[in-house]
């Protein structure tokens, strides 16, 4: 290696000024994203324990790289690191996808509950949810990944692109086709008669 240690992300000897700036930048850019990171890590790994490990490892890498981060789009920056870290830790996963459907389905409720707003909404939600589960199970995993990250995990197109390592245009076309397939699978009756308030 011809490079001096400073460009390699080794946190070893850094001047105190740099270290303090890094610490500040880390607090500012990374700390507000912890919940999103954990949520997406859960979607990538499909289980809570792996998600926490992955998030910790991502935080270490982000800390070593924060001195070179320009401060723009911290969430997309972190999700790119999350994806690389995930690929290093779990090489078996298919590229451009999230966890397999069974583990997404199974582990999701282990996360904190989001209470429905009313009993009526709960019934409506559960019924629609059943249909949705079947529709999502039939999607191509690459289509399902985009739908999951944008519609369930609430990422922007650019953030989903970073998390999956694909261009934004690819996110948009897969998302659009995934939604059309689910919409046709459910049909107008299910989607209109059970409209959520």
């Amino acid at each position: 290696m011809s490079h001096p240690a400073d460009s390699r992300g080794v946190p070893e000897p850094r001047p105190d000024v740099d270290a303090q700036a890094s610490a500040r930048a880390f607090r500012e850019h990374v700390e507000p994203q912890l919940e999103v990171l954990l949520r997406v890590a859960q979607s990538l790994t499909g289980n809570a324990a792996d998600a926490e490990d992955l998030t910790q490892e991502t935080l270490i890498r982000a800390y070593n790289a924060v001195g070179r981060f320009d401060g723009r789009h911290p969430r997309a920056w972190l999700l790119t690191i999350l994806r690389h870290t995930h690929l290093n830790m779990h090489r078996r996963q298919r590229p451009e996808t999230v966890a397999d459907w069974e583990s997404l389905r199974r582990t999701r409720p282990a996360f904190g509950a989001s209470a429905p707003h009313s009993a009526e909404e709960e019934v409506i939600g559960l019924e629609l949810h059943d249909h949705l589960e079947r529709a999502l199970a039939e999607l191509d995993p690459r289509f399902r990944a985009v739908l999951w990250l944008v519609d369930v995990d609430d990422l922007s197109y650019a953030e989903a692109a970073a998390a999956l390592g694909v261009p934004v245009g690819t996110v948009m076309s897969r998302l659009s086709r995934a939604r059309e397939r689910v919409r046709h699978h459910l049909g107008p009756n299910i989607l209109t008669a059970r409209r959520l308030p």
């Binding site: 800390y63 409720p109 949810h129 949705l132 519609d151 459910l186």
Partner: protein, 91 residues
């Protein structure tokens, strides 16, 4: 006949923009001109209005997937502690 052909063209044009209109994602915003053209079409075309409603319902249902949106607060607290460890020595 010409009139109905124009309507079909507008439906097709609208169909390709409904999701972007509803998402309003910063990476793919419609122009103000596109928004007003689409909105006036949705106000008069039942078919396209129905499609837009179905997309709204679908997104709402997915965004309320059980367990969304709050991750386990205990795990989040552990991660905050981890951040404190990482940063702590420098402050």
């Amino acid at each position: 006949m010409i009139r109905s052909l124009r309507a079909v063209v507008t439906c097709h044009w609208s169909a390709r923009r409904i999701q972007r209109y509803l998402d309003a994602d910063p990476a793919a915003l419609l122009t103000p001109g596109e928004v007003s053209r689409l909105e006036s079409h949705l106000a008069t075309c039942e078919t396209c209005a129905q499609v837009a409603n179905e997309h709204r319902t679908l997104h709402r249902a997915l965004s309320r997937w059980p367990g969304r949106p709050a991750p386990d607060p205990v795990a989040v607290a552990r991660l905050r502690g981890f951040v404190d460890q990482l940063v702590g020595e420098e402050q």
